[in-house]
């Protein structure tokens, strides 16, 4: 199989214009003859559903939440990037593009990223018009801040709730379309299989989580906007219910999974305190603007009260290693450095897996009131969780899994290798390369949903023609439904001795230890033995109480964990095959003497897209070369 990226030819800056011109269009009168299924209502799913509905298509939107307003996009605190250059500080579409490509360690598609930077400006306009209460200056104009290591102020924000506010904007647009009848909303419905008819995605099988009813839905195209798979690690900053099931089941139907090993580990999370822990909480990266990160120079000091450790006995390791970026070094670098110092035994806190984020200097410089004004809510969250007062004692932070750059492979039109299957937002692999910059996830989700997909999906729809979708009586729907019922029954029948969560925890532990911030061949190979064994035990020994015909949260989780047990293996396999370090993927064998990541552009300047071959068979690794026409690949240095 050849992966066709379908990037338009011509100068970078004109590709998107050209693509829109070359795309086939669907006549307005024909639009209502097309039905589109959108799974997920996060930023990408909600904005896509609303926009498609507004254009005149008939849309069915499915979410497993109780409302299309709850997806984990809400949790993004920091902000959203856009190349508005409202601050007149030298920003431009090109700079945002370049920063994103560089931040992604030259493992993203140039054309996609450039398009993302181009439409970023429209996103802000759209959201402001929807009533998103962005922060403003006294003059009434939009405020910006610098975020996630960017050297320009291009981040728009709404207090500490940017993700929530942007999602509510998209949700409100969706509400309008639901009210007008163009979008049908199915809440508490989980997609459990993708239906392919003659190789095209033509429907889904969903389970009503309240009644257990399994139903078939057909459409002309299927859009997956179901988020990332970071919960494969169990402990992460993801919502508890975030899962990979939708994209994984699409993968098992033939959609290629690209770069699964690209996982982002966020440097500023609250450390783990005990094995009961269900979730890690992120503290906004903006804290790094004023907080200084350090650990004791000597192991012996780790047990001491931080305020008793004198200045000269502290190692401000980020400032030491990266003098120009200091505490604002990109996420992967900060995370890895934290791991390094903890591995050296200099970590702090009960578990020894933590570093200090200290505001004493800022409080001295700005006064406590100013610090409170800037970060008060974050300090409150920290206090709520840890019962510690960060105004007096430094915060303790540690990296945690936060985002997955990998996802289903898509072409420039956001269509996967399965015709008719589109993938948006974090669920696809497209824009962030090997590492995502802060405040770019919101941008990508909304870009895909509002501006890209609505312009590209017509290309496919026009090619198949209106009114051609097969009905749900088609054999393929029956087969998919039987598959879903089979999985459910197998899970309920197992009646073993271990809970679903215990498997999830064990899987997470295996991955974190063997395929976390630092990866090496030995560990990965070990994980590739441990995971299949765990999976085997899961199917023999899992205990899923309850019934299938009503709300059964254990059953829901069991299905998701069953998929994670497969995702995890692919993740390790991809990490093993990618024998280079890039962005969030750090192979310990591939580093410079000073510990910096060593990319291998000669052998790995490509997207690795895995194709499922059937149960217990090794998937095939396809390669899409990354061609850089505009920028030169350089070593990413933040020194």
């Amino acid at each position: 199989m050849k992966l066709e990226s379908k990037i338009p030819s011509g100068p970078l800056a004109q590709k998107w214009d050209k693509a829109r011109f070359q795309n086939k269009l669907v006549n307005p009168a024909n639009k209502r003859k097309y039905e589109i299924i959108v799974v997920g209502a996060g930023l990408a799913g909600a904005s896509a559903s609303a926009t498609l509905g507004e254009l005149g298509y008939k849309v069915k939107n499915f979410v497993y939440h109780d409302s299309p307003r709850r997806a984990h996009s809400i949790a993004a605190q920091g902000g959203i990037n856009a190349a508005k250059n409202y601050q007149n500080d030298g920003d431009s579409v090109y700079r945002l593009f370049y920063d994103t490509v560089k931040g992604g360690d030259f493992r993203a598609r140039e054309a996609n990223v450039y398009r993302l930077a181009q439409v970023s400006v429209n996103i802000i306009d759209q959201c402001a018009a929807q009533g998103v209460p962005f922060a403003r200056e006294y003059g009434g104009l939009l405020d910006n801040r610098s975020f996630g290591g960017a050297q320009v102020s291009r981040t728009f924000y709404a207090r500490g709730q940017t993700g929530q506010q942007l999602l509510l904007g998209a949700y409100s647009a969706l509400c309008k379309e639901i009210a007008s009848g163009s979008v049908q909303s199915f809440t508490h419905h989980e997609m459990l299989d993708l239906v392919l008819v003659d190789g095209h995605a033509k429907g889904v099988i969903v389970r009503n989580l309240l009644t257990g009813a399994i139903s078939r839905h057909c459409a002309d195209a299927v859009v997956l906007a179901t988020g990332g798979y970071g919960n494969v690690f169990n402990l992460s900053t993801y919502a508890r219910n975030s899962n990979a099931t939708a994209i994984w089941r699409a993968y098992k139907r033939g959609a290629c999974f690209a770069n699964p090993c690209y996982t982002q580990i966020h440097p500023t999370c609250i450390p783990v305190t005990g094995d009961y822990q269900s979730k890690l909480t992120l503290m906004s990266e903006s804290l790094r603007n004023d907080g200084r990160i350090w650990v004791p120079k000597k192991k012996e000091d780790c047990g001491k009260h931080p305020n008793d450790i004198p200045e000269e006995a502290r190692d401000y390791y980020l400032e030491r290693k990266y003098p120009s970026f200091g505490n604002l070094a990109p996420r992967d670098i900060s995370s890895r450095s934290a791991k390094e110092v903890c591995d050296e035994g200099r970590g702090v806190g009960e578990s020894g897996r933590g570093v200090y984020l200290d505001f004493a200097d800022s409080i001295q410089r700005l006064g406590e009131a100013k610090v409170r004004e800037r970060y008060g809510n974050l300090f409150d969250i920290y206090h709520e969780i840890t019962n510690e007062n960060a105004y007096q004692v430094p915060m303790r932070i540690y990296p945690a899994v936060h985002y997955t750059m990998g996802g289903l492979w898509v072409d420039y039109d956001l269509m996967s290798n399965i015709p008719g299957l589109f993938v948006l937002g974090e669920a696809n692999f497209s824009d962030h390369g090997a590492n995502r910059l802060g405040a770019s996830a919101l941008m990508q989700g909304l870009a895909d949903g509002y501006f890209v997909l609505p312009n590209t999906i017509c290309n496919y729809l026009a090619s198949v023609g209106p009114g051609k979708r097969p009905g749900v009586e088609h054999e393929a729907f029956k087969e998919a439904e039987d598959n879903v019922r089979g999985i459910t029954q197998r899970l309920l029948a197992s009646q073993g001795k271990r809970t679903v969560d215990s498997f999830h925890k064990e899987l997470g532990h295996i991955l974190w230890e063997h395929c976390g911030m630092g990866r090496n061949e030995t560990d990965l190979k070990k994980a590739l033995q441990l995971i299949p064994a765990l999976r085997e035990e899961f199917w023999k020994n899992v205990k899923v109480p309850g019934e299938e015909d009503n709300l059964n949260q254990s059953l829901e989780r069991a299905g998701r964990v069953a998929d994670f047990l497969e995702v995890g293996e692919l993740l390790c396999l991809d990490a093993l095959e990618r024998a280079e370090s890039c962005g969030g993927h750090f192979r310990e064998e591939h580093q410079y003497p000073d510990g910096e990541a060593r990319r291998d552009d000669e052998n790995f300047a490509h997207v690795a897209a895995w194709e499922y071959q059937g149960r217990d068979k090794k998937p095939v690794r396809h390669v899409e070369p990354l061609v850089y026409e505009e920028v030169k690949m350089t070593t990413r240095s933040y020194k």
Binding site: A129, G131, R136, A239, S278, I381, N387, F451, T499, N550
Partner: protein, 252 residues
């Protein structure tokens, strides 16, 4: 520490429910309340009983999925905090904690502690939006908004749609929820064209869904995990009055 839980168990919407008493194993005081329920559920599962169904998702106080009335108060003992951000250190060793679902006619119990809150979506669908076609928006800085209004709009927009206001209200009124959205959009220049139409429709949808009236007891404000102010309800009342007096060509 150990606590006893008196938990509402209900098989489905039609079945009658009852309280059941559970004892927790030894807990860490730094556990969140939901993590404590996870632990209890693990135990129940291993004993072959069905675990307690409860709603949750982000576990960082922002998605609005978690609910639970803990000892008579929605979202537990603290002000401005959601259930998922409530920690066991807020309780004493040996406490008996009563855990119930949201109670309101528009929020039928689905199972145990899980209710459906689609009625809130219905209110939003009635008018909780600004009609703006994707791509048709003017430059974001072409309409300045005073910082005061933007901040106030943000205060209102902070609502996470959890429904605690309804659960706490003796009348199961959704006024705080509705008013927060009406106020957010009504405070912004972008929201002006639909301002009065919006408030009328949303109030009607709210009544239709079967929520009660506001009798200004202030329970909603006191339990709101985002501290949304009763001031916004006054704003809704004002806008609704003006809207009704103005009338309108269509839709009343």
């Amino acid at each position: 520490m150990k606590v006893k839980l008196k938990v509402w168990r209900q098989k489905d919407t039609r079945s009658a429910g009852e309280f059941r008493l559970y004892e927790t194993p030894d807990l860490n005081v730094n556990m969140s309340f939901l993590e404590m329920l996870d632990v209890v559920n693990e135990q129940l599962t291993l004993k072959g009983e069905e675990p307690i169904a409860f709603d949750h998702d982000c576990r960082e106080g922002i998605c609005g999925t978690c609910s639970l009335v803990i000892n008579g108060k929605p979202h537990g003992p603290h002000r401005g905090v959601a259930t998922c951000q409530t920690y066991m250190r807020s309780f004493q060793d040996g406490d008996i904690i009563i855990v119930e679902p949201w109670r309101a006619r528009p929020f039928p119990v689905v199972k145990d502690l899980v209710v459906t809150r689609q009625a809130l979506d219905k209110i939003m669908q009635a008018g909780g939006y600004i009609s703006v076609r994707t791509g048709a928006a003017p430059d974001a800085n072409s309409i300045p908004i005073s910082k005061e209004n933007a901040d106030l709009a943000m205060d209102a927009a902070a609502c996470i749609g959890c429904g605690a206001c309804v659960a706490a209200c003796k009348n199961a009124s959704a006024m705080l929820f509705t008013a927060a959205k009406v106020s957010q959009l009504g405070l912004l220049p972008q929201g002006q064209p639909e301002r009065y139409r919006r408030v009328k429709r949303m109030v009607e949808a709210m009544d239709e869904a079967g929520f009660g009236a506001c009798t200004v007891t202030g329970s909603c404000e006191a339990v709101c995990p985002k501290n949304i102010s009763l001031d916004f309800i006054a704003r809704l009342n004002r806008d609704y009055l003006v809207a009704s007096l103005k009338g309108g060509a269509k839709h009343g």
